[in-house]
Symmetry: C2
Subunit: 132 residues, 2 copies
Amino acid sequence: MRPTPAPAMPPAGFAGRFPTPYVAVIFTSQRRAPDPAYDATAEAMVTLAAQQPGYLGAESARGADGLGITVSYWADEAAVAAWRAELRHQAARDTGRLRWYRHYELRVARVERAYGWDEQDGSADPMQGGAA
Amino acid sequence: MRPTPAPAMPPAGFAGRFPTPYVAVIFTSQRRAPDPAYDATAEAMVTLAAQQPGYLGAESARGADGLGITVSYWADEAAVAAWRAELRHQAARDTGRLRWYRHYELRVARVERAYGWDEQDGSADPMQGGAA
């Protein structure tokens, strides 16, 4: 399926639009107390992920209560498996369990359709028009 | 596939664990300026969604920059379609485009596997053990 036509450059914080199907890895986590080492590692992992074959993009938000959601997007399952096997990523995950997280849930999902809307698009529902 | 055994009650902010497959609706949005009417509507929609057939749960995070991710979980596509057709939900989405959002992306995905970890589980990787 063709996605909604994509803007030339996604707005800050958005991953962009990709032809479906692709894979989303949904990581929901509750942090312990803030730790600057976490921020440095998280930034390093974003950079490293972006260098992996099959990486499409990622979106991330964390509230003041420490609950965060990061969704990373991948071309296929092989790309997800390779990222999971990456040694620096494994080490970061180990440190996460030891030091940074209270709880997390990870879900691997196949994106089957996608829509986007921008304030410049007007007020119509982008899901109208038969694509749903 | 059986999910990781679930805790009796998910921690605050987490949706819980459900047998796969199920459907995830990933909604990433950039808010305009804060608006108390948004908060009231968002809270009403959470309550209304939880009353829909096939609703499983939801997780949500928004950072200080106004970028947020909400993932809602549904038993199947029919449940997603029914929620999409709910009239108060349609009205809230219309208001969102007129007043609250600068940009959003919505992705509908089929969750194929899931893992969870809690600090009481020890430091081992919950994805080890053959389930991946």
